[in-house]
Chain length 229, copies 2
DNA sequence: CATGGTTATTGTCATTCTAACACCAATTAG
DNA sequence: CTAATTGGTGTTAGAATGACAATAACCATG
């Protein structure tokens, strides 16, 4: 094999850390591998990138094949390319994370998965390949991002309460926040629409429902505003 | 060609945005390409990744071949993988940036370069491939990084003045800073060693020379400190 | 229907951080 | 010796932060 040919004896894949939030804990959607290597092991959903496919497109495809969702929040994080990270050959992978509303998720058969399941972020065991490392890197990235851009709303249903929003931040940042200060800060941004609706069927004082005002956010950004929690 | 083979009809490269600082402007080290495609055009230094080489190692190699430097600050930024980004085939590239002390730079012949030259960041024309986009992304990353970690010192000589440090920040952040407030903030971190030396041969009051105290920084980080400018 | 359990909602004050701002000091050039 | 240049320093007003607790609204239960 010539040297030039050997350069092309390699492949690249995308792996996608799909985050969800169920009101309590931060979740990650993992698959159980249906093929070697690591058959039967839990892993991040991912696939080889097609020769005529952009990286972002490949990540979107993996997400759609598994969840049926399109147009969700997706962000590239980092390339992982240790020589020995894949036992069958030289494969570098580009890690993405995406944020989905967990209620939108519908199980979809995907060629690369025996089965798929949400896992509590806090209780994830040993994964295939270097996927534990990828997961940690993506969470670190999300921790930064969620404080500097209004991406947290991607994980919540369209109508949500301030307590839900706070719990979301607390579970991503792995810290507790002061309730009054949190509300003060969020509301002072004027980015939430008060829907004049309340929760129903809860055994306590019902909370008001809000909606994120994306139009206003874009407008404020144009005026020099930067989101900051 | 089988489908599996076609997956392996691809290559990956690294491209390195090498930043330097000469006391006035932020600089980038560019090469003039010695081979097709884009022969003669200015481009980021980069090379294909060897089959048995880690990504980080490849980036270090490119840097060393061009500058003779080892062990300098190097950080991966993002993978660029548009299908048509390379005219000769499917090549995705992993972008890195590195920070070097411009005085340490010694011209070294590199196979991939006809010639290499520092360019003012502000006056860079059209580059080969998608390298303008890569450059912009790396600067954006550096702007964030320099505010949240003491990486700016990587661009300065071991002994520097506070004015030099401020000019460095101003040129990276593309903004002006207040002299008194800047000094107050930097000195209050207790991360600079006052060398009790002053500049020599300047036609004005000589400035005091300082040195960054990496040991203290590591210690403070261990105690929960976070650098923030 | 009265009580208890549970969560939602709201404001103040002390402290800290931020941002704006101007003058004297030390040196070299001529 | 004078001019020109850059180095070095402190205060203050306003804003942001962080700590903190009592009342309101709803459902469940007896």
């Amino acid at each position: 094999m010539s040297e030039v040919e050997s350069f092309f004896k390699s492949a690249f894949s995308v792996d996608n850390v799909i985050f969800g939030f169920d009101g309590g804990d931060l979740k990650v959607l993992l698959i159980q591998r249906g093929a070697a290597p690591y058959r039967g092991k839990w892993a991040l959903p991912g696939d080889l990138v097609y020769p005529n496919e952009d990286l972002d497109t490949a990540a979107e495809r993996v997400l759609e094949q598994l969840t049926g969702l399109r147009g969700v929040y997706l962000e590239q994080v980092k390339a992982f390319g240790a020589v020995d990270r894949h036992p069958l050959g030289r494969v570098i992978t580009i890690a993405y994370y995406s944020l989905i509303k967990i209620d939108d998720y519908a199980v979809t058969p995907a060629s690369f998965a025996q089965s798929a399941r949400w896992h509590d972020f806090a209780h994830i065991g040993e994964l295939a390949f270097d996927h534990n490392e990828i997961l940690e890197t993506c969470l670190k990235q999300l921790k930064h991002k969620v404080r500097m851009a209004p991406v947290g709303f991607e994980l919540l249903p369209p109508k949500f309460t301030l307590t839900e929003l706070q719990q979301l931040y607390e579970s991503i940042l792995e810290t507790e926040l002061d309730k009054r200060n949190f509300r003060k800060k969020i509301l002072s941004m004027n980015l939430l629409i008060d829907l004049n609706e309340v929760q129903e069927g809860v055994a306590h004082r019902p909370a008001k429902l809000y909606q994120f005002d994306r139009v206003k956010y874009e407008q404020f950004v144009g005026e020099g505003f930067t989101f900051d929690v």
